[in-house]
């Protein structure tokens, strides 16, 4: 019976206009997005080669995986320089495609987390309530078909038919990218990409299950649609954006300008006091004290900033979209984990000798965190959140369907 229900769901979806529209939309978007970002990647490579030949203090090449999940790669691939114990990045962006500044970068990650998550809900929102309205649910359950089998079959059949066009498009996109001469994928990259696609399936399953749950909690497909859109907006946009604002309520942190002003005030005060001192040794001691105060302020800022980031991540992880974004970008080497590692490596490179001068400094060498490291340092937690969300929504769907009034 399970096989019959799965086959019926797949066939019903394949015959529906909704499937055709969503399939065409996802295939077109994914392929166009990958093509555009491949062009952007080529430009970023060219920029990197120029910066590297100019012997910039610290610069890393873009990863080919940024074609799929751009994340913070533009920031990561800027040229870093250092002075006064602080690092600064060049304002020159790697990407010269100004359209991306006007419109959101349509990378595969964005398409999955925003557009396909909505499509998943649009696929599932009327699987139960719509069948109730049509009367087919009553007809199906009038026989010896158990509700558990029906809901499991619906989930498997519905999700299979939803995920199929995504996989076709993603595989076509991957084939296109890997066939390009400018892209050299390592085994590490393949593993990252595989894990990214796998986590995408887990993520989309969350929204599919949520859509099905909403369908089991409502009795009209119009209500299901409205509730689904509401839930999607909260999970995809509201919580990830509110997380940072909420975290700032708990951790006070100055702006970069305020930090700079505070450092200048310390320097100015020390400078004024130094003029009143007669002994050189006293003057040097006062200047050293000022530098220590400045370092303390900077250190305090960094600590607060790290706590803010950790708390923001913790809050936003309530949304599967945020958990998936952190997981995907960290896996692909374009996330916050990589940014933190890179900044530490740059600091180490620029200031390890205790001097700021470029002379005699070796070439900056850096390798992105392996996927294992990404998984260990928070990735597994994010994956676990997605899997738990899947299980939670499906379990709730299961219970709601067992109690569903089919009349």
């Amino acid at each position: 019976m399970l096989k019959s229900i799965i086959s019926k769901e797949i066939l019903a979806n394949f015959l529906s206009y909704r499937f055709s529209i969503i399939a065409v939309l996802s295939i077109t978007l994914i392929l166009v997005g990958i093509f555009l970002l491949y062009r952007d990647y080529c430009l970023a490579i060219e920029n990197y080669e120029i910066l590297a030949s100019e012997r910039a203090a610290a610069v890393i090449p873009p990863t080919p995986l940024s074609v799929f999940a751009k994340g913070l790669d533009e920031n990561l691939c800027r040229a870093y320089a250092g002075s006064g114990g602080q690092i600064s990045a060049s304002s020159k962006q790697q990407s010269v495609n100004d359209l991306f500044k006007l419109f959101t970068v349509p990378d595969l990650l964005y398409i999955i987390k925003v557009i396909l998550s909505l499509c998943a809900m649009l696929f599932a929102f009327d699987m139960v309530s719509g069948e109730k309205e049509a009367g087919t649910l009553r007809q199906s359950l009038s026989g010896s078909l158990g509700r558990p089998i029906l809901i499991v079959g619906k989930w498997i059949g519905g999700f299979t038919s939803f995920i199929l066009p995504f996989f076709i498009a993603a595989l076509l996109g991957v084939a296109f990218v890997t066939l390009q001469s400018k892209v050299a994928m390592t085994s590490q990259d393949w593993a990252r990409l595989g894990l990214f696609l796998l986590s995408s399936v887990v993520y989309l399953a969350v929204f599919f299950s949520l859509g099905l749950l909403i369908s089991c909690l409502t009795h009209e497909s119009a209500s299901s649609l409205v509730v689904s859109l509401f839930a999607w907006t909260i999970l995809v946009f509201l919580i990830p954006n509110l997380g940072n604002i909420l975290a700032r309520q708990f951790i006070e942190i100055p702006t970069v300008q305020q930090l700079e002003l505070r450092r200048r005030q310390i320097a100015l005060r020390a400078w004024m006091e130094v003029h009143r001192l007669e002994l050189v040794s006293d003057r040097n001691a006062r200047l050293a004290q000022a530098r220590a105060e400045q370092d303390q302020v900077t250190e305090d800022y960094r600590n607060r900033f790290e706590r803010l980031v950790t708390l923001s991540q913790g809050i936003t992880r309530v949304s599967p979209t945020a958990a998936f974004t952190f997981l995907a970008t960290d896996l692909m080497g374009t996330g916050m984990l990589e940014e933190g590692r890179l900044k530490n490596a740059v600091m180490e490179h620029l200031f390890a000798s205790g001097k700021d001068e470029d002379r005699g400094r070796p070439t900056f060498s850096y390798s992105r965190a392996s996927y294992r490291k990404a998984l260990v340092q928070g990735g597994l937690n994010n994956l676990l959140i997605l899997i738990l969300s899947d299980l939670l929504f499906f379990a709730a769907t299961y219970v709601a369907f067992l109690r569903y009034d089919v009349r």
């Binding site: 019903a12 087919t136 007809q139 010896s144 078909l145 009034d405």
Partner: protein, 240 residues
């Protein structure tokens, strides 16, 4: 065989929809349940199909308790609703195959499916037509085909002739006679006293959840069933 024993249903809002109703429908018998809206006809159907739970009493299909062992009990029943609702994007054959598989009949050949559809009077061109292009009469016939292909001993029909034109309704009743000849126990709820008189072996008259009378074929074969119905209703009202 379909059997109701003191079946009672009181909804959460306090409405008594079914009040200690008992009767038995034997194999080869068509039992028509008559009554106004809210009399409890559809509640009876919902209880027998385990769509709702009884407050007390039990319903049995082929000896199996409908609410304690619903999946086992529903192996022995087919259901034809007022509007047979199937999948509009599927052809009649695809629909029939799907519901046959749900009824435990898998691996049927197209020829077997087509023969069943022909036997209920569906025209040749309708066999591969999508359901969204079917008329109500054709859908009701396909509903009968689904009941036939499962071949259970009991069939429950909820207002199956409602909205059918006279020709389609007569064709539908012909199919019911064939089912009766094949020994099926048929419970049919209806408003249509005329059709009930034509087809029923017994009629049950319901009012506000109570079964106020059961009449044998002999009682109404040569009498005005409508008059009997009105008399029983009035008597029930006076008694209340």
């Amino acid at each position: 065989m379909i059997e109701l024993k003191e079946l009672t249903k009181r909804y959460e809002d306090g409405v008594l929809a079914l009040d200690h109703v008992s009767y038995t429908i034997k194999p080869g018998e068509i039992f028509c349940l008559l009554g106004a809206n809210g009399a409890g006809k559809t509640t009876t159907v919902n209880l027998l199909l385990d769509f709702i739970q009884p407050t007390s009493g039990s319903g049995f299909l082929n000896g199996h308790d409908c609410n304690k062992f619903p999946l086992e009990a529903k192996k022995y029943v087919s259901y034809v609703s007022e509007n047979v609702q199937l999948y509009g994007m599927f052809t009649a054959r695809q629909n029939l195959r799907f519901f046959a598989e749900l009824g435990g009949k898998s691996g049927l050949k197209n020829q077997e499916l087509d023969n069943v559809m022909r036997s209920v009077g569906l025209p040749e061109k309708a066999l591969t037509m999508r359901l969204k292009n079917y008329s109500k009469g054709m859908r009701q016939k396909l509903g009968i085909a689904i009941a036939l292909i499962k071949d259970p001993p009991a069939i429950i029909m909820d207002e199956p002739t409602s909205g059918l034109d006279p020709k389609s309704a007569n064709e539908f009743l012909d199919q019911l006679r064939k089912l009766r000849e094949r020994g099926k126990a048929i419970l049919m709820t209806t408003h249509d006293i005329f059709r009930a008189k034509q087809i029923a072996d017994r009629v049950g008259i319901m009012k506000q959840g109570r079964l106020v009378a059961i009449r044998e074929k002999a009682d109404f074969k040569h009498a005005d069933l409508e008059q009997i119905y009105l008399t029983e209703m009035e008597a029930a009202e006076n008694a209340a």
